[in-house]
């Protein structure tokens, strides 16, 4: 399998009145072509900023992003515009990401006009109909407006528009979070089918661990701008090695009545990402924290087989 995307020491800081807000801090990973990397974490952990920084929708403060071997962080504006055809993003709220005054065909047509200007009007129309069929929208909705659709079908329009650019890589930022569970299942199935059919590579950002487990091949867990644990899906969910991942997994209410796990209720709340202190950022809420944890920054280390954990006590805990 070849690597399609590599993110190396990526950081994004925002300047605020009281200092620097470390939204994304020194994040590195690679994704193989055709695979899905899930990024999980709670509000404010920097997962959306990470998605945007990868596409340079927000200019990274430091670090590099390689797409298909090319360092896109060194690209000019024009080069970036060209490469974006292959690198697209889907947002959470399908209500906000469609122009209410365009019909859905017009919305899907926009990327075609930009990236395939040579198509004739008839060819464009054919292509739009093909895309609508691909995402499961009926042809008779060609001239419908977004307000006539429910959230699920709106998200289908957004996906069709994304695919119109013929991307190889898509950042999916909470694409099913606004949807009811029965509709969410329809969209998840659609995305997985399309991935197989079109050999797409996904970064799938979500706060919902069961959704991430369902769709991802590998998973990164973020806490206050940093990836604290990274592993293939089965390892991460069966054998979590970071205290935060363990607490996160135990906090999910399960529908399985026989699977009554021991709950780890975290104390306190997420601390501020502004001018963070050195050391493990999870330490203030961690039941295993020792003075050693806050003495120096904690790096991700391989616990075996590519299971990366950023915890100084990883060898003594949970092994």
């Amino acid at each position: 399998m070849s690597v399609l995307l590599e993110v190396r020491n990526l950081s994004k800081y925002f300047r605020v009145a009281s200092g620097a807000l470390h939204a994304v801090d020194n994040v590195s990973f690679t994704i193989d072509a055709g695979k899905t990397l899930g990024i999980v974490g709670e509000s404010g952990c920097g997962k959306s900023t990470l998605g945007r920084a990868i596409l340079r929708l927000q200019e990274p403060t430091a670090g590099r992003v390689f797409f298909d071997g090319m360092d896109i962080t060194s690209f000019s504006k024009e080069e970036m515009r060209q490469i974006r055809q292959h690198m697209q993003i889907i947002f959470q709220d399908p209500y906000a990401s469609l122009n209410p005054r365009l019909t859905i065909a017009q919305s899907i047509e926009e990327p075609l006009k930009v990236f395939q200007p040579k198509l004739t009007e008839a060819e464009r129309r054919n292509r739009i109909e093909e895309l609508m069929e691909l995402v499961g929208l009926s042809r008779r909705n060609f001239n419908a407006y977004p307000h006539e659709f429910d959230g699920g079908r709106r998200q289908r329009v957004v996906i069709a528009r994304t695919l119109a650019a013929e991307p190889r890589f898509v950042v999916c930022d909470e694409p099913v979070s606004a949807l009811d569970v029965s509709v969410q299942a329809q969209i998840l199935n659609l995305m997985m089918d399309l991935q197989k059919q079109l050999e797409l590579t996904f970064v799938f950002i979500s706060h919902d661990l069961s959704v991430v487990r369902h769709i991802s091949d590998a998973v990164g867990v973020m806490y206050l701008g940093q990836i604290v644990e990274y592993a293939d899906k089965d390892t991460l969910f069966q054998n979590p090695g970071h205290p935060y991942t363990r607490a996160l997994l135990s906090a999910i209410p399960s529908v399985d009545l026989d699977e009554r796990r021991e709950r780890i209720i975290l104390k306190g709340e997420i601390t501020s990402p502004i001018n963070p202190k050195p050391g493990c950022r999870f330490a203030p809420r961690c039941e295993y924290a020792t003075p050693q944890c806050t003495a120096a920054d904690v790096e991700l280390e391989d616990a075996g087989g590519g299971h990366m954990i950023a915890c100084v006590r990883r060898r003594e805990l949970f092994t």
């Binding site: 706060h207 135990s250 529908v255 399985d256």
Partner: protein
């Protein structure tokens, strides 16, 4: 059970009527809750969960909302026949409600201490100082320190704000607490804290809990009984144990199959095909029949009644 129920809903119908259309939000639901019980009311967007709760509180916005039929008995007293003044007394002292969004439930320009004492002083005859003392004690129970009494809502995080809202709902020791998606706006680790708090407070005070949610996992962890709503009807009702283990209604089965699992192999999900019906144009027979895999000829012709004992479902297959 010889006990008098805390809450009894009998044949409740609620419409929202505008010039263009009549939206049938709640269509003939029956529900009984006894003291100390916790009941989960589950359904997707537009199923009529919130309208049901607003009806219990007699807070359905009128117009356009209209309760067209039914009875709502709080400890035997029909809320719909009561005077507004009597219902105002019941709200707060008898029934309290927690809303989904803690930010909009709190007044941004009044300190939380003042807002909470106002609740005490509206519903109970106590002095200012007594009210303050009560509020400080109540805040400590939910884990908010006393030095935050004079803080404004914006100084609290989402989880802390929801604790303040929970305190507000519990200050007058209501017999029935209605919580409308109390943790939906919160992160999972904070949700776990808040759910544990609600569970503890409920079991200690003996308050009955009506928990509205779209999350079956939350119900499994919090409730004894569950009612599944679809298109304004309760399509399945029973103990959590029964409904989760021996699911009867095809809609409930569809919900379970739609949820990605946390254990076992990741199999392809089986979503419910299609969409919920338009509440202004409901199907003639079973409201779920247009999407049902097990549809029979009678399902489209005639609405099924509630079938079964204890664990019930509105389905001909039962």
């Amino acid at each position: 059970m010889g006990m008098q129920p805390v809450l009894e809903i009998k044949g409740l119908w609620v419409n929202y009527e505008t010039e263009e259309e009549i939206v049938h939000a709640v269509n003939g639901i029956d529900l009984t809750m006894y003291g100390g019980e916790s009941l989960g009311l589950v359904g997707e967007t537009g199923a009529g969960k919130t309208t049901t709760c607003l009806s219990i509180m007699q807070l359905v916005p009128d117009p356009p909302g209209l309760i067209t039929d039914g009875e709502i008995l709080f400890k035997g007293e029909d809320m719909m026949l009561n005077t507004d003044k009597r219902n105002e007394e019941i709200r707060g002292n008898g029934i309290s409600m927690i809303f989904q969004d803690p930010m909009t439930a709190l007044n941004p320009v009044v300190t939380i201490g003042e807002q909470l004492s106002e609740v005490v002083r509206t519903h109970q005859k106590v002095s200012k100082a007594e009210a303050k003392q009560k509020v400080i004690e109540a805040l400590e129970v939910v884990g908010v320190k006393r030095d935050r009494y004079d803080d404004y809502p914006h100084q609290f995080s989402g989880g802390m704000k929801q604790r303040v809202v929970i305190t507000m709902a519990l200050l007058c020791q209501p017999e029935l607490l209605i919580a409308d998606e109390p943790t939906t706006a919160l992160d999972v680790t904070i949700q776990a804290q808040v759910l544990e708090l609600i569970r503890t407070l409920q079991s200690e005070s003996g308050t009955s809990l009506l928990l509205i949610t779209h999350d079956l996992g939350v119900v499994a962890e919090t409730c004894d009984k569950v009612a599944i709503m679809y298109a304004g009807e309760i399509v399945e009702f029973g103990s959590v144990d029964e409904v989760f283990r021996n699911t009867l209604h095809p809609y409930t089965k569809g919900l379970f199959d739609s949820i990605p699992k946390m254990t076992g192999p990741c199999e392809r999900l089986t979503p419910i095909e299609g969409l919920p019906p338009n509440p202004a144009d409901l199907p003639k027979g079973c409201c779920f029949s247009p999407r049902c895999k097990y549809k029979m000829e009678i399902c489209e012709r005639e609405k099924p009644g509630t079938r079964g004992e204890g664990h019930t479902a509105k389905c001909y297959l039962v």
